[in-house]
């Protein structure tokens, strides 16, 4: 922070016109303004507009006027079985996928930290999945899961295990989505945990070792507390991403079979564009937005990320 904040406009002699002097004095606002205005236009305006849409019945026929129905669309949420299925699927996916990614990522980071800390190239190779286009990841896994000629069933066959339909199987579809997501995003947790581990102070561990603390105790009493801020960021970003899951489901299962992988994003997409009911889709979107805001605000306030 510049201490001379207020004095800066007085110092320079070069300032010519009054306009320039004005711009210099209000520089902080001028530099911030484009971003704030763009984001206001692209987030606040849609949110208001969506609220407006959510209280109307919007006919697929553009010539018909919007009919005001108050909380009608929101009331529908309560009795909409498909919405509840989508909500439950999103919850299952988010909890299971993020938990696996977190445990795997943290475990791998703990195990490998000492051995690959300097091997930047190797680390970057392990990071490749999370940078790839989700659509490319989805078709890759579609190819692997293919029941007739896919690699996974070949492996099952060689192991003498029963062949499966994977993404096409009612009981395995969600599992298949989760595996693909874990493949893509475990490197992200791994990377953040490695960065966290690299910044741990050495002294407390030396003291703990002198006191005869077991590595297990050191892990719980030192490593976890020190890593807490990094863990918080990693989980926050992953949970936010998991809540908006779309691409993988769109390609791998299309929400099926029997709606087992229909998640909220996909359901909103279907309501808006396949069932041509944007008013109701807006109501569901507002619900998702509400959940996202509550979750992320709680998380960020709790972890003091905004500072």
């Amino acid at each position: 922070m510049l201490k001379s904040d207020k004095g800066t406009s007085a110092a320079p002699l070069r300032l010519g016109s009054g306009l320039e002097r004005w711009a210099e004095r209000h520089l902080r606002y001028l530099m911030l303004a484009p971003t704030v205005l763009i984001l206001l236009a692209l987030t606040i305006f849609p949110s208001i507009y969506m609220f407006y849409a959510a209280v109307h019945r919007i006919s697929p026929n553009p010539d018909l006027p919007w009919e005001f129905i108050g909380i009608g669309n929101f009331a529908r949420l309560l009795s909409d079985g498909q919405f509840q299925v989508a909500l439950r699927n999103t919850a299952i996916f988010t909890i299971v996928a993020v938990t696996i990614e977190f445990l795997l990522g943290l475990g791998l980071a703990m195990l490998l930290d000492k051995y690959i800390r300097r091997l930047t190239f190797l680390k970057t190779v392990l990071m490749i999945p999370m940078m790839l286009p989700p659509i490319a990841v989805a078709i890759t896994w579609k190819l692997i899961y293919e029941p007739q000629f896919g690699v996974l069933n070949e492996i099952m066959f060689r192991l003498g295990l029963p062949l499966q339909a994977w993404a096409g199987d009612v009981n395995l579809a969600m599992f298949s989505i989760i595996v693909a997501d874990v493949w893509q995003w475990t490197p992200f947790i791994f990377l953040l945990m490695l960065a966290g581990l690299a910044s741990l102070p050495v002294e407390p561990y030396e003291a703990a070792a002198l006191d005869g603390a077991s590595s297990w105790r050191q892990f719980w009493d030192l490593t976890i507390p020190f890593l807490k801020p990094v863990i918080a960021i990693a989980l926050l970003l992953r949970v936010m991403d998991a809540l908006r899951l779309f691409d993988l489901v769109f390609i791998l299962t299309g929400g099926g079979p029997a709606d087992r992988t229909k998640v909220l994003s996909l359901y909103i997409y279907q309501v808006a564009y396949r069932f041509a009911d944007p008013g109701y889709a807006a109501a569901i979107s507002l619900f998702v937005l509400f959940v996202t805001i509550v979750l992320s605000t709680w998380f960020m306030k709790r972890m003091r990320l905004a500072e």
Binding site: S4, D5, S9, A11, P12, L27, R28, Y29, M31, L32, P34, T35, L39, M50, L112, K114, T120, T124, M127, I128, P129, M131, L132, P133, P134, A136, T140, K142, L143, I144, Q148, G150, E154, F188, L192, L194, A195, V202, Y205, E206, A209, T223, V230, I233, A234, M240, R244, F246, D247, F250, I251, G254, S265, I268, Y273, S285, L289, T292, T297, M300
Partner: protein, 289 residues
């Protein structure tokens, strides 16, 4: 874990076992990480009949460029790739320019009534907004202004998601730069804007490069917004083109493998270019990398 002192008390065999299991884990992780990428590449070079082979052909026996010809010459994947590229460059340019200014303003200036904190928090929270949520109003908005199926519409929509990212990333970089050099420039008669332009900006060049590459990657990979906003060949991006060849009845495996693999190649190159900045970029600058 830094446990240098505990090693003394540990037997040498235990250390060897740990080391071996770590190397074994690295090996397994590498295989699991790279196999799917290899597999899509391998299939893109196979004739259809070899793609469907049971048991699978682990290495293409009859490599062919047929599917690359199909996708990029006979079908419009080159067009899709060009669209992806143009949209990514447009989005990145806008996001980096405005994001850098905003990031600098948030890193260096103070504002009344704790605005700095509030605005930072609000900008971050817009990043958390699920794209599906803003899609309906954006669609109606672009429809109203007759902008559906245009690259400008995609650039506007993508900017909503890249600008918060660029702002936070650059804010984090500027916060790490010493303010004294800028103060010295001002003392020497430079303006506040001049100090930003001539002193801070050149110092932040690595951060700028990393931010730009991340914005390029995010835009290049984006799917949902493009799926809604574009319906024509002239405006669709690569991921939409690929998804379009996965239909309910048949999937053009060779073609989408070729296009999918080509969509991955620039990303992998970029990933190696930003490897030093990976952590900071992916955690919105919150963790120093």
């Amino acid at each position: 874990m830094p446990m240098a002192t505990t090693i003394v008390t540990r037997s040498r065999t235990r250390e060897t076992v740990l080391r071996l299991s770590a190397y074994l884990t690295i090996f397994v992780a590498l295989v699991l990480t790279l196999f799917p990428v290899y597999w899509i590449a391998a299939n893109s070079f196979k004739f259809d009949i070899d793609i469907f082979a049971v048991p699978p052909e682990w290495v293409p026996r009859n490599p062919t460029l047929k599917h690359y010809d199909e996708a990029f010459i006979q079908r419009p994947f080159l067009r899709y790739a060009l669209n992806s590229f143009l949209v990514a460059v447009g989005t990145t340019t806008i996001s980096v320019i405005f994001g850098t200014m905003a990031g600098y303003a948030l890193a260096r200036f103070s504002y009344p009534w704790q605005w700095r904190k509030q605005i930072s928090f609000w900008i971050l929270s817009t990043r958390m907004m699920p794209p599906i949520v803003s899609i309906i109003p954006l669609y109606l908005f672009f429809n109203y202004f007759d902008m559906l199926n245009t690259k400008s519409a995609l650039i506007i929509a993508y900017t909503a998601f890249n600008l918060p990212f660029a702002t936070w990333m650059m804010k984090s970089y500027f916060q790490d730069l010493p303010v004294e050099l800028e103060e010295a420039a001002i003392v020497d008669g430079d303006t506040r804007w001049g100090a930003f332009l001539h002193v801070a900006l050149p110092l932040a060049r690595p951060g700028l490069a990393a931010t730009a590459i991340f914005c390029l990657i995010i835009s290049w990979n984006e799917f949902l917004l493009s799926l809604i906003i574009t319906l024509t060949e002239q405006s669709q991006t690569l991921p939409i083109g690929i998804a379009g060849r996965v239909t309910q009845y048949s999937t053009y495996w060779g073609e989408i493998s070729a296009a999918g693999f080509m969509a991955c190649v620039p990303i992998v190159i970029f990933a190696f270019m930003v490897q030093k900045h990976l952590v900071r970029g992916l955690s919105l600058g919150a963790v120093k990398g």
